[in-house]
Symmetry: C2
Subunit: 298 residues, 2 copies
């Protein structure tokens, strides 16, 4: 059976109808993009990337205890949300970026891989690879079996997701679009070229409208299918829907407190007070209810 | 026979030895990058992209003759190299970028496609698709048949090359890294999201060291094979050579005035007075002599 973890119903039918309709298109037009956090894997109670950064902080403080005195790190170590709010997210993010500055892509990949080997989800005590959404993995495979090229377009760090995109999703690193940290070109002691991570973002954070321009800048292709779960995906979902021919946009709705979490993004992008889920439905975006549409979550 | 347009000899043997050695590597490590101008197609007497821009200028002046009075455009229309030198390349490039500002990716692609349909090479009077180097097309195919992922890393515009990368090279637009012009996210009259080209570069011109960082930023993968033809490819060639395992870097040497052109880049990147070709050979880069190594050029 196709999409076996999707319950019979309108959402599953809409997906299969779309995929069958896309069979009529030239193969090169079959382009699908997926957000990652909350769309392909669980993002609660904290983004996995934030937990990785905190892990990096613990490691750095272990090597050099004086780092714990730095204001931004102190607030994180103490879980002091008042201090964090006062310092501001931007300064905290900058301080965290420093923890991986000066290392090359291989070393960064190794640190991410090590984190995922050692880490367990705070609430469920399982490894993160077990917290991919099974219905969405099936959807990736179903699209690929219909000759779609599948890309991940994450608000998180591109390099963070690339480090696990193959084992988690069978997606090649070059098919991951995300927030980018710049590299410095340098030479090692033997004179060979090396790349070293800087502390500077390259371009904008990959959320909202920048997701759309970064899809074009990095991929040069227009998606006809997009999946997301938050207002930061809104423009990307609309962009896919507005393409020629059969198109579809899917919004994962976290409405399952028993099996996952229950929460909803605020509709900041659309400057409205309405629920983002309702608003999305009004735009022609198909809602995937975790509670009703998924027979299995993980 | 493999690589039939390559003459028997050291260069062809080195290519085949490298490709056979790479058979031992995991498939995901088989990454090859190719410069475009002068490496995959003929770049003399003028870059095809420059001829496209001049074609755009003629079209724009046809629509609005007053544009011909603008200093930067006047110098181009009159082939006035003294005036061009006085104005400077940067201002001229900025003025040319304005010709495609405000249009979307589809319209840009259509203009490039139209240019290549109408245009003939100034010296040879053939279409540009006939000016791809046949030995290099065979090399692309040979690498792909050994499960390499092949990427184009051009100093030219990414979108310009993407517009023809499929018909010319069987390379998907997402596998093209190049100089990028930024996009503005906007909405059309129906409220649908659209992307419009701006006049601003996004990041740096993709030449020299930026080729290496852009490979990592856009692809997140390390090449073990690289091909180029000029000092602007030097860092990319060195970077591929310095990877683990079997690696190879290839420099196309334009030493065939009879069948193509005879010219050599200056070795500016390495801050030396030597010939770039000699210098490259000293670094372990394999030289492909058009005259000696290629039985057929086009």
């Amino acid at each position: 059976m196709r999409l076996p973890s999707w319950n019979q119903g309108r959402t599953r039918s809409a997906l299969l109808d779309f995929i069958d309709a896309a069979d009529e298109l030239p193969v090169e037009d079959r382009v699908a993009v997926f957000d990652n956090d909350g769309t392909l894997w669980c993002e609660k109670p904290a983004y996995p990337q934030m937990l990785f950064m905190l892990d990096e902080l613990r490691r750095a403080v272990g090597d050099d205890p004086s780092l714990a005195e730095r204001e931004e790190y102190r607030a994180l170590i103490d879980h002091d949300s008042a201090a964090q709010a006062e310092i501001g997210l931007e300064r905290i993010a900058d301080a965290l970026l420093e923890l991986c500055a000066g290392i090359g892509p291989d070393e960064f990949d190794a640190r991410v891989a090590s984190f995922f080997e050692r880490s367990r989800h705070p609430d469920r005590q399982v490894t993160y690879i077990e917290l991919r959404y099974r219905p969405m993995l099936e959807l990736l495979d179903e699209l690929r079996s219909h000759e779609f090229d599948v890309f991940i377009v994450t608000g998180g760090g591109a390099e963070f997701v690339r480090a696990i995109s193959r084992p988690f999703y069978a997606v090649s690193p070059d098919a991951v679009v995300g927030s980018l940290v710049g590299y410095e070109f340098a030479r090692d002691d033997a004179g060979r070229p090396v790349l070293l991570r800087t502390t500077q973002l390259f371009g904008e954070v990959n959320e909202g409208a920048p997701k759309v321009s970064n899809i074009q800048l990095q991929l040069g292709r227009r998606p006809i299918f997009a999946a997301g779960n938050s207002p930061g995906d809104a423009e990307m979902l609309e962009y896919a829907l507005a393409a020629d021919g059969p198109t579809m946009a899917l919004l994962v709705n976290h409405d399952d407190a028993d099996r996952e979490y229950e929460y909803e993004g605020v509709a900041g992008t659309f400057e409205t007070d309405g629920s983002f889920t309702e608003l999305a439905a009004g735009l022609g975006i198909t809602i995937a209810s975790m509670r009703d549409d998924w027979s299995t979550v993980f």
